[in-house]
Symmetry: C2
Subunit: 450 residues, 2 copies
């Protein structure tokens, strides 16, 4: 056969055992948190019908990034999923009779986007979503916010801020400043740039967009609002907004929800460092309709967003006819995996490059079956055990292999030990050795390993 180059497609990657061990730690931790809040696991096919993905409001730019798929003679037009939100909406409509509302589901799975690859950005990457379908009130929004807080704390992050805002409040701001509904998306786009160009820059852009100078001033003064501090300070800020936006009904509705979320965050014990009101955080996606959230790591600075989300009450209706109120969050799980490494948050137990705890050495071909047997007994005791496979290699080579692979314990039963019904255990991190009874090797090895 002609030799074929061994390479992964551009922007896609293999995960080696050391990667998998870390990823699994993060995924499992998040999964445990999701399930502790009653979110149920689901999965959907990687391939969806093209019509399911397209026209869902993802926007033309996003649609260009979608991967098509087809097999010879296949009659359906297929595409690889672009996110987990559209599949959820399709899922809820398709299985309405098999699920109970409210439906809480989480979904941790890869998605595909043909973007230009760059550091930390891949064409295949995992998303990690938790959503509640069928609840209109802000209690559901409070709960998904609490899920974010709990997951990040559980992973070991301490310095982060969950920024909250509300699309109803933003709509109200538009009314307050005399901006028409059609101009709202463009208003959001400009406000979204605050992080990069500051509020003065935003004021400049608003002025250029044919907005009366007075409107711009009123708007920017409101956007300047300091939404940080403890719950009392944030409630005071909300009170100030209430007065300022007096008579704008939709803004008051948004403020009700923000007030509820502020009380909720306080009730959950979130400190003023972990939660803030931020009127300049608008979230890019078009489909949000109520509370919105975004979480940033605050120390060290500039590590960017690790979570986005909010309420989108209309999306499920695309497949179902009648809509269902839905709120949810998406954790940037790939970024979290990287940040855990950068901030040294992985526990020692997941810092290794192997799942193997013990290597059973082999002396010669005649005793090889005995080694496999010995390994089986160690497994019975719950250990993860590799048996060395090549009896021609001497003991030093075998111990060297264990050491280079990061295996903590070497189990030796040469002819001398075997004759006496004994086994020798060598712990590699400190070189300690003990000799134990063959019959008790499982418990002894587990204890010696610690």
């Amino acid at each position: 056969m002609a030799r074929v180059p061994a390479r992964t497609p551009k922007g896609m990657r293999d995960y080696l055992p050391a990667d998998m061990i870390k990823r699994r730690y993060v995924f499992d931790t998040v999964r445990d948190v999701f399930e502790s809040f009653g979110f149920e696991p689901i999965d959907t096919p990687v391939l969806e019908l093209r019509e399911t993905l397209f026209g869902s409001g993802m926007g033309e730019d996003a649609e260009k990034l979608v991967y098509y798929a087809q097999h010879a003679g296949g009659k359906e037009e297929l595409a690889l999923r672009y996110d987990l939100t559209v599949p959820l909406s399709r899922f809820v409509a398709e299985h309405e009779n098999d699920i109970k509302l409210p439906f809480r589901r989480y979904h941790i799975a890869p998605v595909w986007r043909g973007e230009r690859p760059q550091k930390g950005r891949y064409r295949e990457f995992y998303q990690c979503d938790a959503d509640i379908v069928g609840v209109r009130g802000p209690a559901a929004d409070a709960e998904v916010m609490q899920v974010v807080y709990t997951a990040l704390r559980r992973l070991g992050f301490a310095d982060f801020t969950i920024k909250m805002n509300n699309r109803k409040l933003l709509t109200g701001l538009g009314i307050y400043a005399g901006i028409s509904d059609e101009q709202l998306p463009s208003l959001y786009r400009i406000i979204d740039k605050t992080d990069k160009i500051g509020l003065d820059g935003v004021a400049g852009m608003l002025a250029e967009s044919n907005l009366p100078a007075e409107s711009v001033t009123r708007l920017v003064n409101i956007l300047r609002l300091d939404g940080t501090g403890d719950a009392q300070q944030r409630l005071a800020a909300i009170g100030h907004l209430r007065e300022e936006l007096d008579g704008v009904a939709i803004a008051q509705e948004g403020l009700d929800e923000l007030e509820y979320l502020t009380y909720a965050a306080d009730a959950f014990g979130m400190s003023g460092d972990n939660v803030a009101l931020d009127l300049t955080m608008v979230r890019g996606l078009g489909y949000y309709t109520g509370p919105i959230f975004e979480t940033v790591i605050t120390k060290p600075d500039n590590l960017g967003s690790v979570q986005g989300g909010g309420r989108y009450d209309e999306l499920v209706g695309r497949f179902r006819g009648q809509s269902l109120p839905t709120t949810g969050i998406s954790l940037g799980i790939e970024r979290l995996v990287d940040l855990m490494e950068m901030l040294d948050l992985y526990p020692a137990s997941v810092s290794g490059t192997t799942v193997v705890q013990a290597l059973v050495t082999v002396f010669d071909e005649d005793s090889q079956l005995g080694s496999l047997r010995l390994a089986a007994d160690l497994r019975e005791a719950g250990l993860r055990v590799e048996t060395y496979m090549d009896p021609r290699k001497n003991l030093g080579k075998q111990i060297g292999y264990a050491d280079s692979k990061g295996i903590g314990l070497v189990v030796i039963a040469g002819p001398d030990e075997q004759a006496q019904g004994l086994v020798r255990l060598k712990r590699l991190h400190d070189g300690e050795e003990i000799v134990v009874q063959r019959a008790a090797v499982g418990a002894e090895a587990a204890a010696f390993l610690g």
Copy 2:
């Protein structure tokens, strides 16, 4: 927005929470067994370069089933992986400097094949492989056989037979019967039909294939060999074959390996019901070079194969230039998930349709934050807890919701209970109720749930 039909592509399916709970049980059990044998987790991209998949010896018929993929402006020709063996071979060659040989990896992941869907056969399905790369001797084959045995026993299967055979022995049989190398694939194809047409049918087909009558008789007499029974009986059968195939070096080599595997199976405590020599089991794939395995469930009858595998020493060489001896097994994990259901092997803990253990009810809007708080305390005790979100529904409705969803415990803190610092716990399967201190609710609820 126009309403879009909610449907999954043909031959593909969603997994509901009840499905996920069962699938995870099977996947996690198998994963634990793989890791206990020192197999390391890896993952590879769903998309591979087309040239990686094609021409790998999968055959033209298989190539027709491959799904192509492409995004607008993408320059690479991509395809969705068809199995996990070709990606492993590519992976080993690509990461040779980052892994240690022998490399034991497992991989549980979906693959795609555009086959005609039918009961139990999907176009997207999971494969579940464990392979050892870099070991030539039969100790590695013995170990992957032991992995199959251990995994099936751990899942609760008792009545199964791991059939073993050897490609070297089959090649030797060809030599013995005077069949040329080029005719071997056709010989394998005919023998492979034994299950369907019986040995007499095979004899008939061999006679039609221009084989001398005497060769056919000699061959079929050997294929008739009874390879069942205890280790002594199987060793006697191997001894008989040794005499019969005296002087056919490659057959003797295959018999050495089968003898080793027979001793190994005995050393691992596998009974004669769980392992058998079967010369008519040849495995379809072209790339096997040594021991081959296939496992069938024996009671009830006709449940078919749940595992395939064997040694393929040449495949990695396609990407690496120089080859590496490799042996491995693939568990039919989708079939196992279904058979577990059919044979009622799932433990009670995974028979439910929800991960939720307790529902915290809500009395009115004012006490809703208190309910969220109560739920948080139950989570601290390790429980998976859903809070009811709609205070307008009365308690009976809320309990009815818990019951219909299969949640075992309802946690009630109405105004009466709250005033006294108490919480009421209601267990749904027997209707039992207790009242506990609010401060101790976590431990009390966990104990009450049992």
